[in-house]
Amino acid sequence: MDAKAKVGIVLIAIVLAVLPFVLAQVGTAWVRITNLAILFCLLSLGLNIVVGFAGLLDLGYIAFYAVGAYCYALLASPHFGLHLPFWIILPIGAAVACLFGVLLGAPTLKLRGDYLAIVTLGFGEIVRVFLNNLSRPVNITNGPQGVTLIDPFRLDGFSFSKSETLLGLTFSGPIKYYYLLLVVLLVVIVINVRLQDSRIGRAWVAIREDETAAQAMGINTRNVKLLAFAMGASFGGIAGGMFAAMQGFISPESFVLVESIMVLAMVVLGGMGNIWGVIAGAVLLSFVPEILRYTVEPLQKAAFGRLIIEPEVIRMLLFGLALVLMMLFRPAGLFPSKTRRREFAAGEQH
């Protein structure tokens, strides 16, 4: 690593360390939004393993997020009267999400990729149907009302939801979560980078580029694909658990198809298979709704005197457009990885 890169890393580290306090000056809401953006980075990195590395289109990714979130909510809330510590629940959530991933992937992964897309789409919907209806005859998920009063992360009396003052700085709940999320994100990035260069990572890429050839080279394609699917699912599960703890409340409404599409759009925008690109895509798209809220609303009110198109709708239209335009004009993403660009270019010559 040369000196320039070192300076760059130190600068980024300083900016990230100071960021929440600057944001807190503007408003605590912005810290929360940043936290959600980091959460979406985690989700996109998880989906990136499935879609980007292994080339499997997963349209129900948010279901694994939901599984993780509900695991946390049910094991740490007054709903069942259970209050397990988070470091036990997060692995449980990841394991359960992983199990769901394997159950879903096992029958479908040996088939052509498009089947997987539609099965995962269905799976996402089914999970929501179950979350909505598993309140009778035995109340498990509390139905559409969702689970409330979920415990925040707590470690020996140190709670992540309370405000504390240290060295004259106020560490509010969201700011503490920010640092925690940042650490988790860092760990996940390291795992991803290491995975990418590992034997498994190369096997994924080989399958993505040509499954038949990969198989001929001795890769057990089904197992390796299953591994990608399970790994992506467990990352989703962990992110879900953190989401539940941060929000303190979850309901099936948070886990609709649109959320899956949003995470997919983040991965596609950043460039499938490109870790840094995906993070950039996630950050970019996480802030779009906020930017729209502060620009489009006043603009429309100024121009027409009332709100004609809600920012939410514009956001969805933009996501849809992003998916189409990216595939048409920059299929390898805004920030393409080298091999990915070559692959898409080669594809067009057929």
């Binding site: 029958p107 897309a117 089914i126 595939m327």
Partner: protein
């Protein structure tokens, strides 16, 4: 027995709608090996356009007989959906022919999101009630009720299936379509204009989807901008059940899926009534004595059946009921 017959009739109605939508999926898949994710949205747009036309004609006191108004609704919905289908193919799929398979799947998702939210902008985010202007007489057959709308849906679907079969097996366009699905390169060499054939496949599928949209709207009496997603998923399951790419398969799969869903919804409550096994715990026995039923899964799980069918088919017979096994084209 009456419940059984009633659910059979409901299932046939639902099934013929699924079959018509499934045809749209299977035709496109057969010819370009692409799952047209946005097909459900085309069906939704068909329902919405028809709703608008029927609503305004019925409200304008034109004195037209109701049947003519409904036909006018269909006549407007079909070309609109065809135009949507054509544009979709031109903009989002054709430029990506030959690109990695993931690419058109992702544009399809994008198109579907765009169509949904455009529809929401045009027709509001709330469910709209579909104008019920045709008198809907109810006949009683062996204790089961059959409504006029159900008869109309079933017979219209049968007619369209016949028409499509004739188109595919009796006309020049149909021959070209079959040739293109066998092998596009060779068909091109034989003088088939592949682009035109593929575009017509999308257009025909969209036209069928439009009619299906009107049928769904009339049957449930409601239309919503998100109605296409679940319907599309179910119809796709039907197409896979019958063997994707196979016309007769899509029809068979649709009807079967409709029957499974209707019978499932009719009987799942009874089947999962825990009171059959009330001996397993005294608490359960008490609740049974009190309420009579402790239903584990009610008919609100109806939407799950299509998905279970899809998984089961993929596990046990991935090529579907009538499909043949094909290897990956290199």
């Amino acid at each position: 027995m009456e419940v059984f017959l009633q659910q059979i009739i409901n299932g046939l109605t639902l099934g013929s709608i699924y079959a018509i939508v499934a045809l749209g999926y299977t035709m496109v898949y057969g010819i370009v090996q692409l799952i047209n994710f946005a097909h459900g949205e085309v069906v939704m747009i068909g329902a919405m356009v028809a709703l608008t036309v029927i609503g305004s004609l019925a409200g304008a006191n034109t004195g037209m007989p109701p049947v003519v108004i409904v036909l006018a609704g269909i006549a407007c919905a079909v070309p609109v959906c065809m135009a949507v289908g054509y544009t979709m193919e031109r903009v989002a799929y054709r430029p990506l022919r030959g690109a990695p398979r993931l690419a058109p799947l992702i544009t399809a998702i994008g198109i579907s999101i765009i169509l949904q939210h455009l529809a929401m902008l045009i027709w509001s985010r709330n469910p709209l009630s579909f104008p019920q202007i045709i008198p809907n007489p109810v006949f009683e057959i062996a204790g089961a009720n059959v409504s006029g709308v159900q008869i109309a849906i079933i017979s219209l679907s049968a007619l369209m299936m016949l028409g499509l079969t004739a188109l595919v097996y009796r006309t020049r366009l149909g021959t070209a379509m079959r040739a293109t699905s066998e092998n596009p390169q060779v068909a091109g060499l034989m003088g088939v204009n592949i682009n035109r054939v593929i575009a017509s496949t999308f257009v025909i599928g969209a036209g069928l989807g439009a009619v299906a949209g009107v049928m769904v709207g009339t049957y449930y009496g409601i239309a919503h901008y998100t109605m296409g997603a679940l319907l599309g998923l179910k119809a796709f399951s039907a197409a896979v059940l019958g063997g994707i790419g196979n016309l007769a398969g899509a029809m068979l799969g649709g009807i079967l899926l409709g029957l499974v869903e209707a019978l499932g919804a009719g009987y799942i409550g009874e089947l999962t009534d825990l009171c059959h096994v009330s001996w397993i715990s005294t608490g359960l026995a008490e609740r049974c004595a009190q309420d009579g039923h402790v239903v584990l899964m009610g008919s609100n799980y109806q939407d799950v059946f299509a998905f279970l069918v899809l998984i089961a088919v993929l596990v046990f017979r991935p090529s579907g009921l009538l499909g043949e096994r094909v290897g990956d084209r290199a």
